[in-house]
Structures are given as C-alpha cells and as structure tokens.
C-alpha cells in the first residue's frame, strides 16, 4: 500500500507541468479569426474583454490560445456561488499565522494574485455566476491593476497581466446580475455563436486524432448537429464540442459497423443528448428529438 502511494506521488510529481499546452491546432477562421484579433487588440490596449457565447463554442480555448501566443502563464477560475474572494486572491494558512504571523510565507496565493504577480492571463469563466462579494473583489485588479492584500500591502500587477471573462448569454438558474461597476470596467463584449459549416467541419477534423472519415460521414455529423440548432423545440442545442466527440467516436470505431450511418446512428443519441435541453414542449424528450433529427438526416 505504502509502495503504491509512493508510486502515485512520483507520478503526480512527473505530471505537474508549468502550463498546459493546447494539443490540437486552433481553427482561427471566420468569427474565431475576428474574435482572436479583437481579443489580442483588447489585451494590447489594456481593455478587459468578455467572451459571450453558448457553451462549447470555444470561448475558453480562444482565451488559452491568446495566453499561449503571447507567452503568458494561464490561470482560471470557474465561478459559481461557492467561489469566494479568497479562492481568487488566496488566503493565509492559519497554522503558519499562529507561528509566524501574517507574512508572505504564510500566504497561499490564489490564481488571480498569481496571474497578477507573474504577468499572466487570468480567465474568469462564467463571470455572471460570481456572487456580488466576488465581483467586488475583481474591481481593483481590473481597474487599478493592484490588490490591497492586508496586511502585506499593495500587490501591483505586472505589465503583461491580463484579465479575460467569459459568460453564457442565457440567464440560467444560479446566475447573478453583474454589478454596473463591473460591467463598466469590462471594455468589450465579444460575441461568439455557432460557427459556419466550413469552419465547423475544419474544427471537427482538427480535433479528431488520426482523422480518416469519408467526407460524407463528416457531412452527416455536421448536418445532425446543425439541425439541433435549427430545431424550435430545443433551447440548448448541440455545441461544436458535441460534434467533436461524435466525430471522434465514429472515426475510431467505424470499422465495427457495417456502414457509416450505422455508426452515427449508434453514437449520436448518447453524445448529443447529454447537453441538449428542451424548450418546455410537452410530450417531447431530448432523446426523441435527437432520434427525429437522425432519421431526417440518415433516412
């Protein structure tokens, strides 16, 4: 048992990396090209941007890509009602405080302070899920680029420190209204929506390891995904991320099926239904809607 534990610790040590690199090429076409350029321009000119779009359209990836291309370290927090300012800023270890007082060695920095000190990129995911308490703690770092860390003093952000927020356009349960003060400090709101066919097909290909599907199969997958977005009964349709998962599965296991249609028909319901949501139509389930769409596309 002790050996196993020690083995795990060694593996953990090996797994710790400074920054995760993006594994697949990022498709910077269409809206992504514009958004990427805007994001860089905003950061270059000291404006705080917010990426707004439905889940799975690539908001986080775009932010990560900018961090990578501008050689900034990457820090992120996914907001929800349980995230407190100390989760962002950091906190003092009370045991060390008792021994040596509140000083730098007893302080465990949070991702925001780390990003400020390292001059990295901090991404606040789902900013509209942050509580008012948390929102207020972001104001000084955003506007004045400093944070008063009592009793250590004022922490000044490095020149290259940048802040990017993301949020979903739909106000869902558990969202808070962004305070006007914070809204005013976010300088630009970059909207992302579902990509065009050409862009999305490329995204599907680029994100599928050893891609070998025939064009017809990829077209069918795209068509199914697209039809979920056109369906009036679906409030949340399939995202590009779902399309990627479906493509990967069909690509990997196509040889187990007689036809590509059979493979798509087998995987699509499980992959697509997981994130979709019905618009409150009685008597319809997500599964049924997916089945109808698959039948329309595959016959």
């Amino acid at each position: 048992m002790a050996e196993k534990e020690q083995g795990f610790r060694k593996m953990l040590e090996k797994s710790i990396v400074e920054n995760i690199r993006i594994e697949h090429p990022v498709v910077l076409k269409g809206q992504y090209e514009t958004a990427y350029s805007l994001l860089k321009d905003a950061l270059d000119t000291g404006i705080t941007p917010c990426l707004v779009g439905p889940p799975g359209v690539g908001k986080s990836l775009l932010a990560r890509k900018v961090a990578e291309d501008t050689a900034r370290s990457f820090h992120e927090v996914f907001f929800d009602e349980n995230v407190t300012p100390s989760r962002l800023i950091g906190s003092f270890d009370p045991a060390l405080v008792v021994r040596s007082g509140r000083n730098i060695s007893s302080f465990e920095p949070g991702p925001l302070i780390r990003a400020m000190v390292e001059g990295g990129l901090f991404v606040a995911h789902e900013l509209n899920r942050a509580t008012e308490f948390c929102q207020n703690s972001l104001i000084a770092p955003l506007e004045e680029r400093h944070y008063h860390l009592f009793p250590l003093g004022m922490v000044k952000a490095q020149e290259s420190f940048a802040f990017v927020a993301t949020q979903n356009p739909i106000e869902t349960a558990g969202t808070y209204r962004l305070s006007r003060v914070l809204v005013d400090r976010i300088g630009c709101w970059i909207r992302l929506t579902y990509p065009t066919k050409e862009t999305e097909l490329e995204i599907l290909k680029e994100n599928t390891p050893a891609f070998s599907l025939p064009v017809s199969a990829l077209d069918k997958i795209y068509e199914i995904v697209k039809m979920t977005r056109e369906s009036p009964v679906l409030e949340i349709p399939a995202s590009p991320r779902s399309g990627i998962y479906l493509t990967r599965l069909v690509n990997k296991y196509l040889d187990r099926f007689e036809t590509e249609d059979a493979a798509i028909r087998f995987f699509a319901p499980a992959v697509l239904a997981k994130e979709m949501k019905i618009r409150g139509e009685e008597g319809k389930s997500v599964g049924k809607v997916v089945d109808e769409i698959i039948s329309k596309v595959l016959g």
């Binding site: 000119t45 407190t84 100390s86 989760r87 809204v183 630009c188 970059i190």
Partner: protein
Amino acid sequence: MSTSSLEYPFHYANYFIPEFIERMRRSREIVEKPSPRQSINMGKILLPGYMREGCLKFEDLLRAAVITSQVDNQKMAEKIALDVLTNVSEYEEEPQEDLEGDQLLSLLSKKTQEVYVTPMAKGLEQNIVNDHPNISAPDQFTKFKNKPDVGVGPGEDRILKFGAKAFKEERDEKMRRLLAHLLKEKLMKLGRELERKDDWSRFASVRPFQPGEDTDSIEEDRSLENILDLGRKIEEIRPEDFMMLKRKKRNRSIIYIQDISNTMFYDYEGINSVNYSVLSLIPLMWGLRNDKWGLILYESNSHVIKDLTDEMDLEPILEQLLDMITMTTTQMEFRFRGTIDGSTWGGTIPNKSIQWAYEQLSEAPERSDRICFYFSDFVLTDPSRDNDESAKNYETIARMVDDGIRVFAGISPLAQREIFRPYTTTAIAKLKKLGVPMVETYIPSQFLEKAHAFLDEG
C-alpha cells in the same frame, strides 16, 4: 459602394466616438447609459487596427461601437453607429429627464417623507409640484391629507407604497417609466437584503479548515477551544485544527402562486390587494432568485408563467408583475388573451394552480426544501354556496403539508376588511389549522422578515 472601401483618417474618431456615445445616451432604448469609459475603450480598440492598416475602416468603427457596448445594447449600438456613419440624423426623441437613478430615487424619497411625515406641511407639496409639474397634479399630495395611513410603514415601505400609488395614478408615459424603474430598484434592494440575510443563515455548524479557504470565516472561539482540547503546542498547530463556519447546502424548489382574480383589484383608499402582494412578492422572488422557482397566476383560469425547470431571466418577469400595479382586471384579461371575448375571467378558482404547484413540488427532490408561497386575499369561500370546490383547495394544501412541502401565505390586508371578511374567515381559519403561516403583506419589509424566518426553519 462596398463598405470595405470606406476609409477614414484617425481623427474621424474624434467626431464618431462622442457623437455615437451622445446618441446612445439620448436613446430611450438604452437603459444603462454608456459611461466615459466606453469612449476611452472605443479609442483604444480602434488604435491597433489603425496602426496595422494606416486608416480606420467602416467596419472597424462599427465593430468598436458594438463590442464596447454591453451585450443587451449591442443591437441598438449597431443601429446608432450605422446612423452616425451614414450621416442619418437622429430620430426626434423627447429630451430625457436630467435626473436618473439614485438622484431620482432620493428625490422621490425626500418628497415622500415630506408628504407623509407632515401631511399638512406648510404648502411644501405645492413647491414640489411647481418644481416638477410632470410628477403629479397638486391633488396627488393633498388627497391624503387628514386621512388615515392605509398601511404605510416607516422608511422604505412608505416610499414603496407611495411609489405604487404615484405609479398607478401617473398618466405621463415618461414619468410612469421612471417611477416603474425606481420602484423596481427599491424592491430589488429589499430583495438583496433578504438574499444577504439568507446567505448568512446558511452558516450553521463548524468544520475543520481546509487550505485555500477564507480565513475570515474561521470561528475563533471554537478553534481556540479545539486547539486547547487537542493540547497542541504552537509549533504543532495544523491548519485543520481551526474550525470554519460550515455552509449549509440547502437546495430549494419554490413555487409562487399569485391570485389575480377580480377581488384582488378592489381598490381601498388607492391601493388594492394586487399592489400589496406585488410589493412583497417582487423582493421575495429577487432575494431567492438563485433557488429553483416557478410562478403561476390564477383567476378563473390558471396561467403558468414559469415552471421549476424552465430557464428564464427573472427581471422581465418582475417588470411584468410590477406592471400589474397599474392594471385593471380588464387590462389583465386583455394582456393574457389578447382580446376581451366575454369568456370566463376573474373568478377565484385556485384549484388548478394549487394542484400544479403540488405536482411541480412533488417532482422536486425530496431532500430539497420544497416551498409554496401563496399570495392572495383568500376570498375563497362563498357562505351562500356549496363549497365542494373550495374544499378541494384545502385538501390539496393538506396533502402538500403531509408530503413535507412547506406552504407560506402572503395575505392581503384587505382580507380583514368588513367587505371581504364573510368570504375570507373560513379560508384563513382552515389554512391556519393546516399549519400554514399567514402573514399580511401590509408592510413589505416586515413580510420579508417573517418569510426569512420561515425559510430559516427549513
């Protein structure tokens, strides 16, 4: 000519940005006006493109205007920017009231206090009317002289009630919108207070500290007690020896039932039961907006506004509830049906709504706190008629209580008036017997306090 061929020197931004911002500020469609920061940001975001291309393009200017505007304003921003870029002159709009937000709020509060605290106050009301002729005619202020207060409590509640009355009686559309905005802000503020209280009451017990947590939430006395009990020396103290206030994870599923039957619109001294309900319901819903919630309105028919699983923005719904303050029952019918066709409307038939609430809450996880807030005047029983139908209401509520669903009633103060008493006494007695707390919506802040105490019991 393609827009891509339109190029501008950078100093065009000196005209475009202030003109765009000015028009945005003047637009009636834009609620939250752009601040000077947006002008600065527009200039900043235009710069990199200019540096790359050596000129500003039509698209650059349009995009800068759109992306620096808040998401809700982006459509309007695009339209205004296009107007500026294509030299379309501004649509004629009435000039906006200079005062807004807090300024107006303080103005209203001030006026309210003067009118209510000293109703005979040395002709002050006339000065106010002279200063602001749009707000109301002089009789707005003299009307309540020497009359008993119709249930206005101190401070905020007084402002709310006055605001509701002024809102109802104001005919000028612009002023109505401003009053609606102020009332909404006030009610949301009350809601936020409830939210804060509710948040604190979620701290119940203590648990060991974990690295990365907020040291401000350490319960010092209990930590010290624990460290002494463990007999630790200072150098032996570990982070987990400290005790944190533990946050009770409490998922709630809430159904709000609001009565909109004819009796709810009966005006008594300028205020009716719908007004009373709405002034308590809005802050309650806002304060609990992070819980799962559903809303149903009823008269002879039931109208589901949102079920527990729907995802909807709460603010527009609150605005519609607020609108009910100024509406008559006929207007309500028109709003829901789009026509007045003579079919049944306005009776008090809550059966389906209560049943719907029961079904919704039955489907919610049993471990969650399932609550039904029921706002009505409880004119449920006609003593001269067979009351089989109304008996069903109590049966359903009894089933709710038996199943662990907590029911809380917001009762209109008018229910106790002589005119309604014969029809409300039985209902109130029966609900009390079922253990349903019946709290008057007479003073919103007091109602919310009692609602908070009720929530805390869960």
